[in-house]
Symmetry: D4
């Protein structure tokens, strides 16, 4: 299993909408709105690197509320 | 009481408009246009983390003149 | 309750030692070694901002294995 | 008069010592320990850019508790 | 010969399209979609700094799928 | 006299247009397109901090070809 | 197979030594000294995420010539 | 001819010493101490990329007063 944390810069003003959408995705196990150098932090779990690709590149990064992501893959 | 500093990247060319709007918000106690790695720096005071959320996520980040914020919460 | 995520740059080569120490702290609820722009990511829970100060400033940042931290406080 | 904000990365574990020293400098009008992408934020006021140099380059950056500074000069 | 690596932030959701276009450029010798602080990493080879300019400034940065590039020129 | 260097992220694909406009401004004494973490670097000279404001905030940051600036003011 | 690129900040003045050591590691398939926001860029190939851990955390980050790494894992 | 700008983070408190040494190097055509996200900015001119290597990697980065450099090579 692959665990990844995704640090997200949301489109300013759209962070709540992004949070709601992310919370409804089955691969997103935790989702927080945060203060600091990013706006949202989520934990994603998938079966494989390929599955991670489907979630992050295929779904999350296509959301119009999201501007930038930085992914941290757990060792 | 919560004190937070918000470092802001304004939409280029809109920093003066953003500054004027921010100065009119009661929770914004100081507001400066600055040279350096950010464009604006403000000090916000609220009664609680919830109140900070209302100001930063609910108002400031919804301003079209603002692109990115990084919040520093005082210890 | 306050939930905070701490993104950590460890002293290169000392990230495993840092991870072990962090996992033994009661306020650290999750701790991961990660690939990406940071080396470690932890979730801290405390009763108050004051308690967060005791953990992050008073303990974590005093560890010699840790170089830099960036704290994201959950809204 | 010149107003500048200095964002500071302190040596991990030394942020309280740095804060105390900074608070004792007459040109430092405000000093906060913060959570986020920096550790300390101070407001400095001097009569001239030359005076700012004396404070930031001549004193603050020579403190062993300080690793990195990013100065924002108010417009 | 000049070898350069270009680290790319793609428009969120457009990284696959960008990757396809980049792979079709003769000067782009390797192209990867990546997890981390950037979205794409490519290796470019040209005969001269002038040629690098034609590729990076003249073609790659004009692609609508690309938001930001940081170029690392091999020594 | 105030000397400042402005590091600029241009709108991708518009860096040449930005360079031409900047070169025509009397306060801009040097202007370069560069490879690295920024796209353009210019040197600005003005009589005062107020004059710097007029150039950077009043003119340069209003150019549609410019996304982000980071100003370094010479000591 | 896992392909990862590691962006490296070397201890200033030690980048050549680091480069030589890295070139002698079998998992390091390419290694370059570069100009830009990092000092070295390498491509690592391993059979698994576990193998990547052995190389990056177990060997590369333990080298005294290396200060900071940012890993980009290819999709 | 190659023109490069080097953005430098100096060891805190050593920026004046670094500046003096840099000003004495024949390839360094301009050298400034600056306020902002870096501490020093210099312009280097050499005959070739190889010559740039000799100056930046062979001399500047070996100075103990320098912690980090980011090189911008003019197009």
């Amino acid at each position: 299993m692959i665990t990844a944390f995704v640090l997200i810069l949301a489109t300013a003003g759209k962070e709540r909408d992004a949070l709601e959408k992310l919370k409804n995705m089955p691969e997103v196990k935790e989702a927080y709105m945060v203060y600091g150098e990013y706006d949202l932090l989520i934990r994603v779990e998938t079966d494989s690197l390929k599955g991670l690709d489907d979630v992050i590149m295929g779904k999350i990064r296509k959301m119009p509320e999201i501007q930038l992501t930085s992914t941290l893959i757990a060792v």
